[in-house]
């Protein structure tokens, strides 16, 4: 598993070899700089600490700035750790290395992680795809209600995990098995088939096996 940090650009479309229209999401990825390497021996897991998007020094918190100085790299807005399955995959990298889009392969599935758009306090129809109540036949003032939330005296309580209204969105979400349609190494852009979580310019992590 390898990955990079990037930003969602937005959706577009492209044509495949047969001339079919394919909906794609464009993502601006990397290049990312390696800040730290975590190995099995040292930390009991394998990961790379990656930095994305340069930032002025005065805008970085002091503890984080110390980490940048130690690694001798320019400060960045975002620092994220990306897990790798084994030490073997990260052997080739040193602290300060730049990783760019070329690590990905075309026509292979990727996982995209992002923060979904916030929907606020949402009812059960929007949040859990409930059917709601009838529009007519005597129904009134409860067209979008959830209906019953459980049985009677036995068990005398609502079962834990019952789907109810509440806050929806603005949560971390991963979409798996999105086909990587195109890589533009020159501009650091990739095109992924289908939709990905989040709004335009929101931070995403793209990973590929």
């Amino acid at each position: 598993m390898k990955g990079l940090i990037g930003k969602k650009v937005g959706m577009n479309q492209m044509f495949d070899d047969k001339g079919n229209v394919i909906p794609v999401t464009l993502i601006s990825l990397g290049p990312c700089v390696v800040m730290d390497i975590k190995t099995m021996e040292k930390s009991n897991y394998s990961a790379l600490k990656l930095c994305y998007e340069e930032q002025k020094e005065q805008r970085i918190k002091k503890p984080l700035l110390g980490q940048f100085k130690k690694a001798k790299i320019t400060p960045t807005k975002t620092v994220k750790e990306i897990r790798f399955s084994s030490d073997k995959e990260i052997e080739q990298y040193n602290i300060g290395d730049k990783i760019d889009i070329s690590i990905f392969e075309e026509n292979k599935p990727v996982k995209v992680t992002g923060i979904t758009k916030g929907k606020g306090f949402a009812g059960v129809m929007k949040r859990w795809n409930f059917k709601g109540a009838p529009a007519s036949h005597g129904a009134h003032e409860n067209h979008r209600s959830a209906g019953s939330v459980g049985a009677g005296t036995d068990p005398g309580r609502v079962v834990p995990g019952k789907k109810m209204p509440g806050h929806m969105g603005n949560a971390k979400m991963t979409v798996k098995n999105l086909q990587l349609m195109k890589i533009d190494a020159e501009n650091n852009i990739i095109a992924v088939k289908g939709a990905i979580p989040g709004c335009t310019k929101s931070l995403v992590i793209v990973r590929q096996d």
């Binding site: 930003k7 650009v9 937005g10 577009n12 479309q13 492209m14 044509f15 047969k18 001339g19 229209v21 464009l26 601006s28 998007e53 340069e54 533009d184 501009n187 852009i189 095109a191 335009t200 310019k201």
Partner: protein, 117 residues
């Protein structure tokens, strides 16, 4: 790092799918479209002749709608302007119209349905 200019990136991406030679017709024209159809291994060219009644979108996403009368029944087809399957579009007849979408053609019957003005 420079700010992410999504608009520029989108336009740059669309550029690679744009037609080398833009199709030259306007709404109201009667056109003859040669469309490549692939069935298994073989591919053949299918013709579709009708009146362009609408154009939608811009850039690589632009599409146009063609309407024809087939045995008294209206048939409408939407083509992507930049589809690689469109090998040729010939303008048979030009007609000047005052609307950008001439959906009023749908209400016409008989001989009037097959010509704009």
């Amino acid at each position: 790092m420079a700010k992410l200019n999504t608009d520029k990136i989108q336009k740059e991406f669309e550029k690679q799918y744009l037609r080398e030679k833009p199709l030259d017709f306007v709404v109201g024209d009667t056109v003859d479209i040669s469309y490549k159809i692939t069935e298994g291994e073989k591919s053949r060219i299918q013709k579709f002749r009708g009146i362009v009644i609408a154009m939608k979108g811009s850039g690589a996403k632009q599409t146009f709608m063609v309407r024809k009368m087939s045995q008294g029944i209206g048939v409408e087809r939407i083509f992507p302007v930049n589809s690689p399957n469109i090998t040729d579009v010939k303008v048979i007849k030009h007609a000047k119209v005052r609307r950008s979408k001439i959906y009023y053609m749908r209400d016409r019957t008989g001989k009037a349905a097959s010509k704009v003005n």
